[in-house]
């Protein structure tokens, strides 16, 4: 006699057809539902877009013009290597976002979905990397010193098609013409600075430095923090105890003094500033990741993954990390905001980026030196931009924390 007679296939009714809805999709919808989050995200995306296309928005060189009887394309010819990198990577990221978006909407079989995404990512990433190497090794930056507007008046340039803003970040009004510290006019919507440069153009070009420092140094911090925190959280015990002491040592380093010292000794180098902010700023992320890993390492699915014989890197970064990523994302956005402030402080103190590179902090500095008149209109615009950008990142971080947290996220 047997007590068990039910056949397993018959009892489980076919599951109702549910939409493919990941945790991230649910959190994403909760995030998107609030207007302030949409505005903040829009602001950050707008800043990103401006950074990518700023050479086409604010440039003293025309898109195209007939110069001395020959049709030329000075703006395209003048694009620097940094401009190209921004364009290439901007394009790659944008296309991949679209691919993710589109494939996420279609009901695809699992292996199709994977292979489509992986193929696109490989293709775009590979192409962008190849282009980066080519550009870095082949092209050299060309400094265009021609004043097209003067040439047009002189008659050597005709049929010129200019960008909306006819001033590059470094192009100056002739110094002789007494157009320094000009109050906003129709020609210079935000006025001019002490070197006769258009403040609006510099404001737009300034987005680049802000994002370069904000994102690159935070990415450096992210990589170090995640690796370090993951290992400490996984190997508890002595590794953890010693590791945390090292974190405290790094936390004790005063960032601004380190940067000032570095700049005093080695001069201003944008890349080194990024690296310094990155290698001192990872401790918060490491703490978060460690705490998450301490929690996750004792979960059943990690035991199950171990019992499945998965190698350690897979367990750490494939099974544990995605589950512990939420505080990391939040602290990433806060970190970007913090880095933007750090850069502004440095540039304001005059030890940030090398002039004539535009930066909001540097623009604040130019608005008024001690003993001089304070030109409030020059300080207002970059001040507002710094405030809004930092504010937007903070709103995003705050709201992501709420959206991710199931306790505050009242979705269903």
């Amino acid at each position: 006699m047997t007590l068990i007679e039910t056949s397993p296939t018959l009892t489980d009714a076919p599951a109702p057809t549910t939409r493919r809805e990941t945790f991230w999709a649910v959190a994403g919808r909760a995030f998107w539902r609030q207007a302030r989050n949409r505005i903040a995200t829009g602001w950050v995306v707008a800043i990103l877009l401006i950074s990518v296309v700023v050479p086409f928005l604010a440039n003293s060189a025309p898109y195209t013009a007939v110069i001395n009887g020959r049709r030329e394309f000075p703006l395209f010819y003048d694009l620097t290597r940094v401009d190209w990198l921004w364009l290439i990577w901007g394009f790659a990221v944008a296309s991949f976002t679209i691919v993710l978006w589109r494939t996420g909407k279609r009901p695809l079989e699992i292996e199709q979905l994977r292979s489509i995404r992986v193929r696109w990512m490989a293709a775009l990433g590979g192409a962008a990397l190849l282009a980066t190497i080519l550009i870095a090794s082949l092209k050299s930056d060309f400094l265009d010193v021609r004043d097209y507007q003067a040439m047009q008046q002189a008659g050597t340039v005709s049929e010129a098609l200019y960008p909306p803003l006819r001033w590059g970040y470094a192009s100056q009004e002739p110094l002789a013409s007494n157009r320094l510290f000009e109050f906003p006019t129709r020609q210079h919507l935000l006025g001019t600075d002490g070197n006769g440069r258009d403040a609006l153009s510099r404001l737009l070009w300034g987005t680049r430095v802000v994002l370069e420092i904000g994102l690159v140094s935070e990415l450096i911090a992210l990589v170090i923090g995640v690796l370090y925190g993951a290992l400490m959280g996984y190997y508890v015990g002595k590794v953890d105890i010693l590791g945390m002491r090292f974190v405290e040592v790094v936390e004790a380093i005063p960032l601004l003094f380190l940067l000032i010292t570095f700049v005093a000794i080695f001069g201003r180098q944008l890349f080194m500033i990024m690296v310094i902010i990155g290698v001192t700023g990872w401790t918060g992320i490491a703490r978060f990741v460690r705490a998450e890993f301490l929690r996750i390492r004792s979960t059943d699915y990690v035991s199950a993954a171990k019992a499945m014989g998965l190698p350690l890197p897979n367990i750490l970064f494939k099974h544990m990390l995605p589950n512990g990523l939420t505080p990391v994302i939040v602290s990433f956005t806060f970190g970007v905001a913090g880095n933007i402030v750090s850069e502004s402080i440095l540039s304001f103190l005059g030890i940030g980026v090398e002039p004539p590179t535009a930066s909001w902090g540097a623009m604040l500095n130019e608005a008024g030196n001690p003993g001089e008149e304070f030109r409030w209109w020059l300080a207002l615009a970059p001040g507002v931009m710094i405030f809004l950008t930092v504010f937007a990142y903070n709103i995003m971080g705050e709201s992501m924390r709420d959206a991710i947290d199931p306790k505050t996220n009242k979705v269903e």
């Binding site: 007590l3 397993p8 076919p14 599951a15 979905l113 199950a304 014989g309």
Partner: protein, 364 residues
């Protein structure tokens, strides 16, 4: 007995070094598991069942755990001596494990398919470089465990499934890699009763004794005697880190010798039973399981033993009774068992497998 067991554990000692002292969670456990056989380890919480199974997989954190002594022979190889690299190959590929909580044993951020396929690509040579082959095997595995529309299920997330379904997925995942031994650590405790029966029968169906090497051996960890009676071929009763009785399922239920086993069986309520207790209460074993850090000298069950007589107790103070073969195929560790004094200590091995499609209902 010519046949060699797939898994043979002899004198396994796993201790935990904690601040309160040394917890002797597993203290000299020996048993063996043959291909196609189901060995059940029974005992109350904290008796070392789970630690035994985790020791076999070497999944315990060292320290605080330490494998102090004994051998775990898998197909003649001592797993306690194997390197971490070798263990990675064995885990999942040779010895698979399913856990108590199907609800939390699947990673919530991946689809079912992602997780099964990852395991398959790791352990199955044929699928290593072929995604479509891996998907095919995964689909078959899901079909074998009775999941409808397996293809579509692959792209579902764990939270879209019920507990029973998840446990099936766990079984499918474990079996997709064709292991020789399956350790099931209370596989049905978290499920409701109707699903429990299905899952257990499923495991039994998939054991496939006709296959090569005599089929898959299942080590069933449970505290549910009903589950044991229905499914096990051989039963090991554990108490305080030791096996106190070891016999095939008919023998154990028909002729229990250790007072602890008798007590466990008496604890099971029966329909229409007339209770001897005046109050009509269900039998309970008096006392508490001793803490693993402070086992008493001598017999660890002495304080709770109902058969313990003064004379025996004196003897028990001196030494802990070891597991002896009091009659062919029946090992027990109590001074009171008939014939214990003259019995020999032998490696506990019972190759018994119950005849197909017959469950023991004598005892429960």
């Amino acid at each position: 007995m010519d046949e060699a067991p797939v898994l043979e554990i002899s004198g396994l000692q796993t201790y935990f070094y904690t601040e309160e002292g040394v917890a002797r969670a597993v203290d000299g456990v020996s048993f063996s598991l043959y291909g196609g056989q189901t060995v059940a380890i029974v005992g109350e919480s904290g008796c070392g069942k789970s630690v035994t199974s985790m020791s076999i997989m070497r999944l315990l954190q060292v320290p605080p755990a330490k494998y102090v002594g004994g051998k775990i022979l898998y197909k003649g190889r001592d797993l306690l001596q194997a390197s971490e690299r070798e263990m990675q190959k064995i885990r999942g590929g040779e010895i698979a494990m399913i856990f108590q909580e199907p609800m939390t044993s699947l990673n919530p951020v991946f689809t079912i398919g992602d997780q099964i396929i990852e395991a398959i690509q790791l352990h199955q040579e044929a699928a290593r470089h072929s995604m479509s082959k891996a998907v095919e095997i995964a689909e078959q595995a899901l079909r074998r465990v009775g999941i409808s529309e397996p293809r579509r299920r692959l792209s579902e997330y764990p939270h879209q499934m019920s507990g029973g379904m998840k446990q099936r997925v766990m079984i499918a995942m474990a079996l997709a890699c064709e292991p020789s031994v399956l350790i099931a650590d209370e596989p049905t405790t978290a499920l409701d009763v109707t699903i429990q029966a299905q899952i257990l029968e499923l495991m039994r169906d998939l054991q496939n004794p006709a296959g090569e090497g005599g089929g898959m051996g299942i080590l069933l960890i449970t505290h549910d005697l009903g589950v044991v009676a229905e499914n096990a071929d051989v039963v090991a009763v554990m108490y305080a880190g030791k096996i106190v009785e070891y016999a095939d399922v008919y023998e154990l239920f028909g002729n229990p010798m250790h007072p602890y086993t008798k007590g466990l069986l008496a604890c099971v309520p029966r329909l229409g039973e007339k209770r001897e207790d005046a109050a009509g209460r269900l039998f309970t074993i008096p006392g508490m399981v001793p803490s693993a850090t402070r086992y008493p000298a001598g017999c660890r069950f002495a304080a709770r033993c109902t058969e313990c007589k003064g004379e025996v107790r004196v003897k028990e103070e001196a030494a802990s009774p070891e597991l002896r073969e009091v009659k062919p195929g029946h090992w027990v560790a109590t001074w009171n068992a008939p014939g214990y004094a003259t019995a020999k200590m032998t490696e506990p091995r019972v190759a018994f497998r119950r005849p197909a499609a017959a469950a023991v209902v004598t005892a429960v």
